[in-house]
Amino acid sequence: MSERFATRGFVGRRRTPARGQRVPPGQYLANDFPVLSAGPTPHTPLADWSFSVEGLLSKSVTWTWDEFKALPSREFVVDISCVTKWTKLDTRWQGVSVDTLLEHVELDRKAAFVIAFSDGGYTTNLPIADVVNDRAFVAFSYDGGPLPPEHGGPVRLVVPHLYFWKSAKWVRGLRIVERDQPGF
C-alpha cells in the first residue's frame, strides 16, 4: 500500500556513487562498528580456550589457543552488512579460513550443515556450502589489533556474504550435522 507514499520534506543523504554500488539496497553506511547482543559478554581466559570441529566426521579435532594461532591464517578485507540495516565497508580481519579447518578432518558423506557454537550457549546454523570455498573464516584480529570481546573476541566466525548475525561471536567450534537445526 505504501509504495508511493512519501514523507514531506525528506530528501535523505544520497551515497556517493562509488560507495553506493557496494551498499545493499536499504542498508546505511556505518563508520563505527555497532554491537548487537542480548546479554553479558563472555570472557573465557585464553588458557581455558579451545576450538573444535566435531560431529559427522571420522574424527573430531580440537586446538588450544596457541595451536589455533599457529594455523595458516591470512588477511581478509570484506564488507559486512547487518540485518539491523548498517553496512560497513572494507573491514580488515586476520583469520583462519574455514577451508583450512576442514582440511584437518574427513567429512561424513551425510554432512550438510554446520552449527557454530559459542560461549554463552549461542548457536548459529549454516549450510556447509555457505562457509567453504574461502567464503567464511574464523577471525582473531580486527583492524590490526586483537578482536575485542564485545565484537566476539577472542575469535568469531565471519561469513561476509551473509548478514552479520550469522557471524557467530565468541565461537568455540563447528559441529557438522546432517539436517538444519534452528539456532539462537
Binding site: S2, F5, T7, G9, G12, F33, A38, G39, P149
Partner: protein, 245 residues
C-alpha cells in the same frame, strides 16, 4: 501480522526532552499493544522513492496506545535524526512497523526486583518499563540507575522526580559524569562496580537487570553484574548509538 507490516503514522505531538533529545508522539492506526522495552522501525521515503530506515525504542507505556512516543537523540552527522529533529512537525506522516523485540522486555509479570541501568539515551526503553510499572500499580521493587553527562541531559527529569516521590518501590538514582549542579550530593562518576554493588544492596542477587546505553557502558555494567554474582540470564542488554570498534 500487523507488527511486520508498514503502516502510516501521524505525528500528534513534538516535545523536547533535552537539547539533544526530542520526543515524537505518533498515532498508529492499527497498533498491536507493545511490551515495554520493545522498539519500532521507522521508514522515511523521499519523493523519488529513496528510503532510509532506522530502529527506535518506544518510550511510552502500552496504556497510551494507539499513541506511542519515540524519543530520538540527535546524531549531528546522521541522516534520519536531524530530519526528525529539525524538519518534522505535528501532522507529518511517515511509516512505522512494530512492535519488535521479545527479549529486552518487562511487562510486569514476576516478582523479582528490577535493576534498570541507563546511559544517556539508553533511558528510553527503560522509561517504558518505569511508566508501565506505575500504570499497572506494580509494587515490584525497582531501582533505576541513570547516568547522564550534565543535569541538562537528563531525559524525563520532572516525570522521574514525580515517580520517585510516589514511594511505591521505585528508586531513581542519578549519576552526573561531566558537570553537576550546585550542592549536588549524588554520584558524579561513571557507573562502576562499587556503584552497582550499592544498587543491589537490599535486593540481593535476585534482581532482573536491564542495561541500555552505549557499548562501553553496557559492557562494563554487565560484567560488573556478573562479577557480583548475577547469572548471565539475569542480565539483559541493549546497546545504543555510536561505538568504537
Amino acid at each position: 501480522m500487523a507488527a511486520l507490516n508498514w503502516q502510516i503514522v501521524t505525528v500528534t505531538a513534538v516535545r523536547d526532552e533535552t537539547p539533544r533529545v526530542r520526543t515524537l508522539s505518533l498515532l498508529v492506526p492499527s497498533w498491536q499493544s507493545h511490551r515495554p522495552g520493545q522498539h519500532v522501525d521507522i521508514r522515511l521515503t523521499a519523493e523519488d522513492g529513496y528510503q532510509a530506515q532506522r530502529s527506535y525504542s518506544i518510550a511510552s507505556a502500552p496504556s497510551d496506545q494507539p499513541v506511542i512516543d519515540l524519543s530520538i537523540e540527535l546524531i549531528e552527522d546522521g541522516e534520519v535524526s536531524p530530519f526528525l529533529h529539525d524538519e518534522v512537525v505535528v501532522g507529518d506522516r511517515f511509516e512505522v512497523r512494530g512492535p519488535i523485540g521479545g527479549y529486552f522486555v518487562w511487562d510486569g509479570a514476576g516478582t523479582d526486583p528490577l535493576l534498570l541501568v541507563a546511559g544517556g539515551s539508553g533511558i528510553v526503553p527503560l522509561m517504558a518499563m518505569v511508566r508501565h510499572r506505575a500504570q499497572i500499580g506494580s509494587s515490584v521493587p525497582c531501582t533505576l540507575l541513570y547516568s547522564s553527562r550534565t543535569p541538562e541531559d537528563i531525559n524525563y527529569s520532572d516525570e522521574l522526580q514525580r515517580l520517585d516521590a510516589r514511594e511505591d518501590g521505585l528508586r531513581v538514582i542519578h549519576t552526573l559524569t561531566r558537570s553537576q549542579p550546585q550542592g549536588w550530593t549524588g554520584y558524579s562518576r561513571r557507573i562502576d562496580m562499587r556503584m552497582i554493588g550499592e544498587m543491589l544492596e537490599g535486593t540481593g542477587r535476585m534482581a532482573q537487570a536491564f542495561v541500555c546505553g552505549p557499548t562501553p557502558l553496557v559492557e562494563s555494567v554487565a560484567e560488573s553484574l556478573v562479577n557480583i554474582g548475577l547469572a548471565p540470564s539475569q542480565v539483559r542488554t541493549e546497546r545504543f548509538g555510536p561505538t568504537g570498534a
